[in-house]
């Protein structure tokens, strides 16, 4: 599958160098935003709520907040890196090299996974210090981060290829990702919603990502772990396949 191992590793390294050269855009905003959410929602409003799904509200909040930041940053970074490469033509460095489509797509995606794990660990540390929220199932914790990062890195590649200007990249974030994540169970349990909204939420893909990640923290969720994992895995596989296909045919890359 990967023949040019050095080339693939170089692309991963390049993406990580890029991340740390714009650390104030990529790493610190999710940490600071999480702090604000914890103080305002966790400590402020949370003090008026007894427990949600059997845990204090502030602890219930942490896995949702990690997913919120992870989804946003993974998509933003991947899409802007690909779009900027097209815009500046620096992506030609990859296209003329002996790198296959799978090596290029995996390069971006693996870098997205590394970035996501780094951000998740930082916020997890915050959650542990501030509200004593810890993952109880580390395997599920890592698996969920990997699947979500694969999904949104792949979507980033897809939209980075389709976009004609930076503004187009924001369409997915503004009109789909942010609203769906906010109503997908970051701040509240499905069980606390009216019945009609519970049914609607089951059609929201973000709900399953947050739910499966919450399983890794509090050992329970709003739907079965198997269902949530299956939905997230299917979405990640679909997005990865679509991104791979677009790069393989040279969509907006090779004339």
């Amino acid at each position: 599958m990967i023949v040019n191992t050095v080339g693939f590793e170089t692309l991963v390294k390049r993406e990580i160098v890029r991340t740390f050269s714009i650390i104030n855009q990529v790493i610190w905003p999710p940490v600071i935003q999480t702090l604000l959410y914890v103080f305002i929602f966790g400590f402020g409003l949370g003090s008026r709520i007894n427990t949600v799904n059997g845990v204090p509200y502030a602890q219930f909040l942490i896995p949702g907040l990690i997913m919120l930041q992870l989804i946003d940053q993974t998509y933003s970074e991947s899409s802007s890196s690909v779009f900027q490469g097209r815009f500046m033509n620096s992506i030609q460095e990859l296209l003329i090299a002996p790198l296959s489509a799978i090596e290029i797509v995996l390069g971006y995606v693996v870098a997205g996974v590394v970035r996501a794990i780094f951000i998740a660990l930082l916020i997890t540390g915050l959650g542990a210090v501030l509200v004593h929220a810890y993952p109880t199932n580390w395997s599920l914790y890592v698996l969920t981060i990997v699947l979500v990062a694969v999904l949104f890195s792949s979507l980033g590649i897809i939209f980075g290829l389709m976009a004609e200007k930076f503004d187009h990249i924001a369409v997915l974030t503004t009109f789909f990702i942010t609203p769906l994540v906010f109503v997908g169970g970051v701040f509240t349990s499905l069980q606390l919603l009216p019945r009609v909204l519970q049914t609607v939420s089951l059609g929201n893909p973000m709900f399953y990502m947050i739910d499966v990640f919450r399983h890794s923290y509090i050992g329970t969720g709003d739907v079965s772990l198997g269902l949530s994992l299956a939905v997230v895995t299917a979405l990640a596989a679909g997005a990865f396949g679509a991104a791979l296909r677009m790069v393989a045919v040279g969509f907006k890359l090779r004339m």
Binding site: V6, E9, T10, R14, S21, Q92, L95, P98, M255
Partner: protein
């Protein structure tokens, strides 16, 4: 007999209804300094892009040192380095890392690559700027960096797309000297340029493309004869 450095065989490239390259065939022999000339939109860059993998081929075939650029694409791409006209460097890397990362994409890393990067930076008078990003370089330095990047993986063929566009006379002469030295050391060079005196000065053979078709392919001196390359070029491309 060894395979040609570049063999373009009945190349056709269409964009929808528009035919950018229309049945072009030519060969470049190993060690040659070859000029590919033509007016804007003639099909030069499309031919180059098809050669290095930046454009799909509609029909025909291209091979580099015997490796088909579609079937044996990995091996073919290792043979060639491209110095594009525009500055498309990675803006997040310093210029030494631009070279080292480019070698990485070609599957090469380690101390030998670092040494070669330092050698190229020295040779192209860029060593003092090695820790800077390319946006801090002058136009001439960026031009030299383009050439250094094309050479980092030690290609047998280098394609230069208008390497002296927009540079002053002094730098142009300096680049000519570098290119001659490179060619003398065995690297095959294909040059596209709008400066006809540049092609006349440097190239062993010249091909002229007009509206996607090859209209001339001769040894430089034979093509010019008693006239000038400018006269021949205008005569062929105004038809």
């Amino acid at each position: 007999m060894s395979a040609a450095a570049l063999r373009v065989d009945a190349l056709v490239k269409r964009y929808g209804d528009f035919t950018a390259v229309d049945g072009v065939s030519f060969e470049v022999q190993e060690g040659e300094f070859f000029g590919l000339l033509g007016p804007n939109g003639a099909g030069k860059t499309t031919t180059i892009n098809a050669t290095v993998g930046l454009a799909h081929i509609t029909s025909g075939a291209i091979s580099l040192f015997g490796y088909d650029v579609v079937r044996d694409w990995r091996l073919a791409r290792r043979q060639v380095g491209l110095a594009p006209q525009e500055y498309n460097f990675d803006r997040y890397l310093n210029i030494r890392d631009v070279l080292i990362f480019q070698a990485g994409y070609y599957g090469i890393r380690g101390k030998a690559v670092e040494k070669r990067a330092d050698l190229l930076l020295e040779r192209f008078d860029l060593a003092s700027k090695s820790k800077q990003v390319y946006t801090k370089l002058s136009g001439g330095m960026k031009r030299r960096l383009t050439l250094a990047r094309a050479l980092i993986h030690e290609p047998r063929l280098v394609i230069l797309d208008e390497p002296t566009a927009g540079v002053d006379v002094e730098l142009r002469l300096e680049l000519w000297s570098l290119l001659r030295e490179l060619n003398t050391n065995g690297t095959t060079i294909i040059l596209t340029t709008h400066y006809l005196e540049e092609a006349e000065e440097l190239c062993d053979r010249i091909a002229i493309i007009q509206r996607g078709k090859l209209v001339a392919l001769e040894a430089t001196q034979k093509l010019i004869g008693d006239g000038s390359l400018q006269d021949i070029f205008l005569e062929l491309t105004r038809r």
